[in-house]
Amino acid sequence: AQSVAQPEDQVNVAEGNPLTVKCTYSVSGNPYLFWYVQYPNRGLQFLLKYITGDNLVKGSYGFEAEFNKSQTSFHLKKPSALVSDSALYFCAVRDTRNTGGFKTIFGAGTRLFVKA
């Protein structure tokens, strides 16, 4: 069955340190991969996506993500965390196969806390 896993419910990091939020998926074919962020009382906001090409994609607010096909992972990273990065982060994977119904599946989310 298609699935997206975010193995950490919460990630804690000190301001200025690098951060990583992990995502692995189980979707056949060549799926599209997305990261979204959700701030309190706000809707989900698109951060970045991987469709094809360079495995390292850059997105909004200094975030980047690395696609690893062999490990079926798409980890979100930032070289230097800010307190304002504290939010809920969702990984999403879109099945691009017709047999998969072109569905987008979201992970359960990872809460990031950045301490000053």
Binding site: R42, G43, A92, G101, F102, T104, G109
Partner: protein, 113 residues
């Protein structure tokens, strides 16, 4: 440019009552989604529209939920009758095409008492 607009932001109803949510997508976006988000979980797709056609409603509980997207623009999602377990945040999103990133509204938080 205005984003995805949803109303109301909050709704409290008694069980067995009907409720409706409204969504105005970003202008020009052909694809519209309704998602349900329970506390501590990721969004789960209820229905996806391509223009006015519902192309994926496999996760929509059709005994009590219905949706429409007349003229391929605004959309409404209805629950009748509501149950306690329907308490959640209902998110509307739109995208230019079905294979591009989605833009989400702020959601409607439904509480059924």
């Amino acid at each position: 440019e205005a984003g995805v607009v949803q109303s109301p932001r909050y709704k409290i109803i008694e069980k067995k009552q009907p409720v409706a949510f409204w969504c105005n997508p970003i202008s020009g976006h052909n694809t519209l989604y309704w998602y349900l988000q329970n506390l501590g979980q990721g969004p789960e797709l209820l229905i996806r529209y391509e223009n006015e056609e519902a192309v994926d409603d496999s996760q929509l509980p059709k005994d009590r939920f219905s949706a429409e997207r007349l003229k391929g623009v605004d959309s409404t999602l209805k629950i009748q009758p509501a149950e306690l377990g329907d308490s959640a945040v209902y998110l509307c999103a739109s995208s230019l095409k079905s294979n591009t990133e989605a833009f989400f509204g702020q959601g409607t938080r439904l509480t059924v008492v």
